[in-house]
Symmetry: C2
Subunit: 363 residues, 2 copies
DNA sequence: TCAAGGACCTAATACGTATTAGTGAAACCC
DNA sequence: GGGTTTCACTAATACGTATTAGGTCCTTGA
């Protein structure tokens, strides 16, 4: 029996399929499928038949072909991750990393595999073909991720009812996302500076345009107004010329605290930190420094000292996890909560904020 | 026309398939397939027809279903990555990371997407089901990665002719891999120690069993023999008891240099480093220390000082890239070179190896 | 005018599994 | 003993694409 069925295989060593089992066990392919899947109707079959099938499967070394399985059933237990940039950045300490870790962790816990669409993304970029984003349809749903994102192809996806979730807040209405509540967290940072006695602050943001940056700025302004500060001239951008000059001017203006945003590039913080160093200043003795959104533990020490930055942490890992959960809910067709979520940021005490040296009266 | 076909879609918002295009363009499904694939026979069709089909595909937002594609033929433009552990490790500085970066980089450059099989892997682990490795068949080929790997299911894949590549050397004959030449690199490290005047060395390896560890040991022994050293008692394992005691004994025995292997856990190096610190020793003044295989730039400073470890770097990024290249060759059916490759490791001068303090004569 | 040949396309089928509708036979009921 | 259930399966089809073997019509040449 064994030898017979073995030698029956073509020389090409085809892997056994259900129809092979069916032939050996003397039943139909459908019966094999039912029995092997252990469905109710499969369990209802005669015990004796079941055993014959199971034995045959064992003997032939049958393993279901996942491709055919996925074709026949609708789902494939795969979630897409489309990043609009390299998923594994060259810089190991890259601030995006914890998000990816969270995504993978939760996906793994839910038994979902992950498709990284870097290949498609690169091809799309090369060919300048926005339609290539459609390839994400191979997955059951997709996460989008990155500060700058082509909107048009994604609108198409939304129209088609394809489930997806952004990581990071989006302005476009109706698009599901999981982001961080930068507004509240940033306002809170300013409030803490005000509480420490600072009346003259400046905010330095990256020069690009992204919701995450806009939110921080919004929060800073809100916090400043709440503390009764003048918001005119509060905001500066990294493209506003030489940072050394800027810093000197601020000091002349009586500035005692600076708030900086921290993003994926880290340009603003790095630039300012260097300028502070060059000016021979120390934090928080000479100047208080708060950072909006450093990823937990991944970056930085303050200039002129080993203290951790004061500010807040972005809950990146949790964002990744929650995005996966939301996506799975959307795929199942039953979002359990809001489809647009903002997670709270953890305040970080740090060591770069203190009372201003000369508690001068404000103008 | 546009509106007609849009409203023509069922409420369920099915994704468009070739038969939809065929209906819109007034041709057969087969013609659609031929034209979209750009096969010779597809190109032979009338220009006018081709254009109609292409337009319809564009308008409907068609994307081929990779699962169906794979079932019908054998290509996906998707490569699997099966890691036997978390793909994104919690430890950001994890030594595997550069490999993943290399894999992603090359895959992206080749227009291939990446499937991370963590979900399946975890599910398989939970269910204790070794056959679940078969799920990797949804991809065109797969990279396997991790020190300890279930061999049986992978042998089955090999039997079935499924293309895959190990990252890391394997003992099993016939299995394609891309690894690092630890033997030569380790022998070279010992040679450099010998050239610096060391005659009495010890080698500390992890207590587990893995090809990568075996290779380093082999290289150390080879290097020691080449330098005319006694190899008896040269090798110690981390499970050989208390490292403080061990270190003291070594010093008593006149040991002037220690070689340590660095793996994913980093246990051996971390443990020894701590012991050296506790003993109040400094490298290289009191003891020369060489490390076999730190990943470039990701880890470590020597104990009692800021110097980089002497030893060699594992070309992880390049391993990842080369593994992708090899896998694509295997998928194409034409391996351009050897299917078992060892990449050279870059020697690192570092600052933890110097001439022994007391250049004592050897026994 | 008929056959040959080419241009253009279609019918049919394969890939391997899931699932539903249904079929034949036996058992049971009054 | 006619009807209804229940049992134990099977036939048929869907899933979406690839591929091969033609089929139809038109042109061309003799």
């Amino acid at each position: 029996m064994t030898d017979a069925s073995r030698t029956e295989r073509p020389a090409g060593r085809r892997r056994p399929r259900q129809s092979d089992i069916a032939r050996v066990a003397g039943v139909s392919q459908a019966a094999v499928s039912l029995i092997l899947r252990g469905t109710p109707s499969g369990m209802a079959l005669a015990k004796e038949t079941r055993q014959r099938v199971l034995d045959a499967a064992e003997e032939l070394g049958y393993v279901p072909d996942p491709v055919a399985t996925r074709l026949a059933s609708a789902r494939n237990a795969m979630l897409g991750l489309y990043t609009f940039s390299t998923t594994f950045p060259t810089d190991v300490a890259h601030s995006y990393y914890p998000i990816l870790a969270g995504v993978e962790e939760e996906a793994g816990a839910q038994g979902q595999d992950l498709i990284l669409f870097t290949g498609s993304a690169r091809a799309a970029a090369r060919a300048d073909d926005p339609a290539a984003v459609r390839r994400v349809r191979v997955a059951d749903g997709c996460l989008f991720f990155g500060r700058h994102v082509p909107e048009e192809p994604i609108r198409r996806l939304a129209e088609d009812g394809f489930p997806f979730v952004y990581i990071g807040r989006r302005d476009e209405p109706g698009i599901p996302y999981v982001g961080a509540d930068y507004v509240s967290a940033s306002a809170d940072v300013v409030a803490r500076l005000a509480a420490a006695g600072h009346r003259e602050l400046r905010y330095l943001r990256e020069h690009d345009q992204a919701p995450a940056s806009d939110d921080r700025q919004e929060g800073v302004l809100r916090g400043a107004r709440a503390a009764g500060m003048d918001t005119a001239g509060l905001v500066a951008r990294t493209d506003g010329g030489d940072l050394d000059t800027l810093l000197r001017r601020w000091l002349d203006e009586g500035v005692t605290g600076v708030v900086v945003e921290q993003t994926d590039t880290g340009a603003a913080l790095a630039g300012l930190g260097a300028a502070v160093d060059r000016a021979g200043l120390r934090c928080p003795q000479d100047l208080s420094l708060a950072v909006l959104g450093a990823a937990t533990g991944t970056r930085g020490r303050a200039p002129g000292g080993g203290a951790a930055f004061s500010g807040f942490d972005v809950p990146m890992r949790e964002m990744g996890r929650d995005a996966v959960r939301l996506l799975l809910e959307l795929i199942a067709g039953a979002p359990g909560g809001a489809t647009r979520r903002l997670l709270p940021c953890e305040p970080v005490e740090g060591g770069t904020v203190a009372a201003p040296r000369s508690a001068k009266k404000n103008t």
